[in-house]
């Protein structure tokens, strides 16, 4: 008689996903990896894991494509089938944490695309109750910004930021444009810092595209440039026109509601003074302080 699968519910970005497996070591691994994100919530989605071979994560590019109503996710170290209609899927993968992270990131990126959110190559943190995102190419300073953060700043992630529209008031027309339109959530997806973010969230008060320079300054970006940079840094894996259409619509909405700046910064702790005093004022948008 086979043993019933072991099940853990991992809630990232307020979206509980049940992960089930018969593989004890893999189950222990996921409990440890997502320790701060385990949840007693009723799962909205479910993934069954079949562990096939031992091994390491693959450097191959991931392929995400539609096959009828399903999404197929494939890389050297995993293959998965996801049915968005039922919210269920099955995964065959190596028992290593990097494959698991990749599958979860792709799954969340697909779920978020349908809900007007996205995963972003960005560090994010909460300062004085407001979330700030720091995006940029590798080496731009995402991890540096998190290392320079004062003690009262809460790290959400140094690598992959989780952004959702604030659905507390669905279809609400925000009179205070930019305030609480989107929230950033902590994620367990760590970069160079090798440390999971805190499992909490806050309204996003600003998105900064990082560039290192001789001084600290935040400069306006045109809407088109802001959208261009945002789209360049959103994680999406599928070459699917419908998905891109949704993400572009989301990016335009985000840029219209949230202050987006180019942040040139000298890498020392004073840059956080610039962030802390950022008021996010732009035309038609009230200050946040």
């Amino acid at each position: 008689m086979s043993m019933p699968p072991k099940i853990a519910c991992v809630e990232i970005g307020g979206i509980p996903v049940s992960l089930s497996t018969n593989h004890q070591r893999f189950f222990d691994l996921l409990l440890g990896r997502y320790e701060g994100f385990l949840s007693a919530s009723r799962p909205e989605f479910a993934l069954e894991f079949e562990i096939i071979v031992e091994g390491t994560a693959s450097d191959e590019d991931v392929r995400v494509r539609r096959e009828g109503p399903h999404w197929l996710l494939e890389r050297g170290d995993f293959s998965a089938r996801w049915d968005p209609r039922t919210g269920t899927g099955s995964v065959r993968q190596n028992a290593n944490p990097y494959s698991l992270d990749s599958v979860l990131r792709i799954l969340h990126s697909l779920i978020l695309a349908e809900r007007g959110g996205f995963l972003l190559h960005a560090a994010s943190a909460i300062c004085d109750g407001r979330a700030y995102l720091f995006s940029g190419v590798s080496g731009a300073g995402k991890t540096t910004m998190t290392r320079l953060a004062p003690a009262d700043v809460t790290l959400l992630t140094d690598e992959i930021s989780y952004v959702r529209p604030n659905n507390v008031r669905p279809n609400h027309v925000y009179p205070e444009v930019g305030i609480d339109a989107y929230r950033a959530f902590g994620t367990p997806f760590a970069g160079e810092l090798a440390k999971a973010g805190e499992n909490c969230s806050a309204a996003i008060a600003g998105l900064f595209f990082l560039e290192q320079g001789p001084e600290n300054r935040a400069d306006e970006l045109s809407s088109a440039e802001a959208v261009r940079r945002l789209m360049r840094n959103i994680l999406f894996f599928a070459e699917d026109p419908g998905l891109i259409e949704k993400l572009l619509a989301t990016a335009c909405d985000f840029v219209a509601r949230v202050p987006v700046r180019r942040l040139t910064f000298y890498p020392d702790a004073r840059v956080w003074d610039e962030v802390r005093h950022f008021d996010g004022v732009k035309e038609g948008m009230p200050a946040h302080v």
Binding site: V227, P241, I244, V255
Partner: protein, 100 residues
Amino acid sequence: MSETYIARSSAIAARMLAGEMMVMNSADSTFFTLNEVATAIWQAADGHTPLREIVRERICGEFEIDPEQAQTDAEQFVAELSSHGILLVSDHPLPPEAPR
């Protein structure tokens, strides 16, 4: 003289924001921001209106541009977007944009 017909590819996403049209190809993630004139051409790219007529009616009719210059600029714009798979170009009418 043969005519040129242009149609928007179904593999692209487009969005107007703050008066600017942004166009993105889902296949290679190339991203373009179109100016006012280019946006007018883009919006008129229905597959069955000849480019020459689009330039005459939608560009010269609405913008103060020399007709010859407008035609040359339009052909360059169409060639560039076509090279990125964002516009389809043909010497005969094209079917309407495929539904997604």
